[in-house]
Amino acid sequence: MASDTKHLEITLETQVESVNLAEEMCLRVAEAAGFGEDECYRIGMSVREGVINAFHYGNQECPEKKIHLAVDLTADKMIIHVLDEGAGFKLADVPDPLAEENLLSTSGRGIFLMRAFMDEFNVVPGRTGGAEIVMSKKLPAPGGTSANGQGGQSAAPHQEA
C-alpha cells in the first residue's frame, strides 16, 4: 500500500443494521474526500448494495459469519472492498436484470447498481474463501467540485448492460 494511502477497515456483523452502518461510514469518508452530493449518493448506494450482497447472498444471513469492509483513499481514488465469508461467485453467473425475462424479478439488481454508480467494479476471490467486491470512484479534482456543486462526474447515472 502506498504511504499516502489512507486505510480504514471495519468488521461488521451479518445483520441488517450493518448495511446502514457501512453506508454512513463510507458517506463520511466520501464527504471528507471532497465528493459532491450526487457522487456521495452513488458511493453510499454502492456500499449499501455491496453489504446487502454480502449479508444476503454471501453469508446467507448467517449471524456467525462476518462482513469485512475496507476503504482506501489513494491520491486519485476512493477504493471500497466488501468481503463476505460465503462460497464466492462469478460475475459471469449473475443474471442481467435488464433482460426482458428478468425485469419483474424481485431481486438481483445490486450488482447492476454498483456497476452503474462506480467507476470501476470487480469481484475477486477473497481471503476468506468468499467473494470480495472491489469498487472505486475517482476523486474530484482539488477544489474542483463541478459547477453544479455535485462533484466531478456527470449527474446522469452511468448506464451499463
Binding site: 441488517v16 443494521e17 448495511v19 446502514n20 449518493y41 448506494m45 449499501r48 448494495e49 446487502i52 436484470p97 435488464l98 425485469l103 419483474l104 424479478s105 424481485t106 431481486s107 439488481r109 445490486g110 447492476f112 447498481l113 452503474a116 446522469a156 447515472p157 448506464q159
Partner: protein, 114 residues
C-alpha cells in the same frame, strides 16, 4: 429516516402516501405489509405517492416489483405518482419505467385506473 405510510380512499382507488426510505429491513417490510393489507381488504386499485420518498435501494425496488406482481395477480393495478429525481433515475436505469405506470398529476393518475 425510516418509512412512513398512510392511505386514503379516492373512489375506487387507494392512494398510499409514503415518506422516508424504502430500503432493506423495516422500509421494504412496511411497504409489503401495506400493499398486502390493502389486497386483503379487497382494495386492488393502488396508487403509491412517492413524492416524499427520497431513497430506494435494490431491496426497495424488489419490494415495489413484488407489490406490482401481487396486485396484478389479483386483477388489480398498482401505479406510481410523483417520483423524486433519484427514484426516477433508478427506475430508468433498471428499465422499470417500462413496467410501471408513472404519473406526475394525481387527477390524471386516478382517471387512468380501469
Amino acid at each position: 429516516m425510516s418509512l412512513h405510510a398512510t392511505h386514503r380512499e379516492a373512489g375506487q382507488v387507494t392512494v398510499v402516501e409514503l415518506s422516508g426510505r424504502i430500503t432493506l429491513g423495516d422500509g421494504s417490510a412496511l411497504l409489503r405489509k401495506t400493499i398486502r393489507g390493502l389486497l386483503e381488504d379487497q382494495r386492488k386499485m393502488i396508487l403509491l405517492n412517492l413524492a416524499d420518498v427520497d431513497y430506494i435501494d435494490s431491496a426497495g425496488i424488489g419490494e415495489l416489483v413484488s407489490g406490482f406482481i401481487a396486485v396484478r395477480n389479483q386483477s388489480g393495478e398498482l401505479k406510481l405518482l410523483h417520483l423524486t429525481k433519484k427514484v426516477r433515475d433508478l427506475l430508468q436505469i433498471t428499465k422499470l419505467f417500462t413496467v410501471f405506470d408513472v404519473f406526475s398529476d394525481e387527477g390524471t393518475a386516478l382517471r387512468s385506473f380501469g
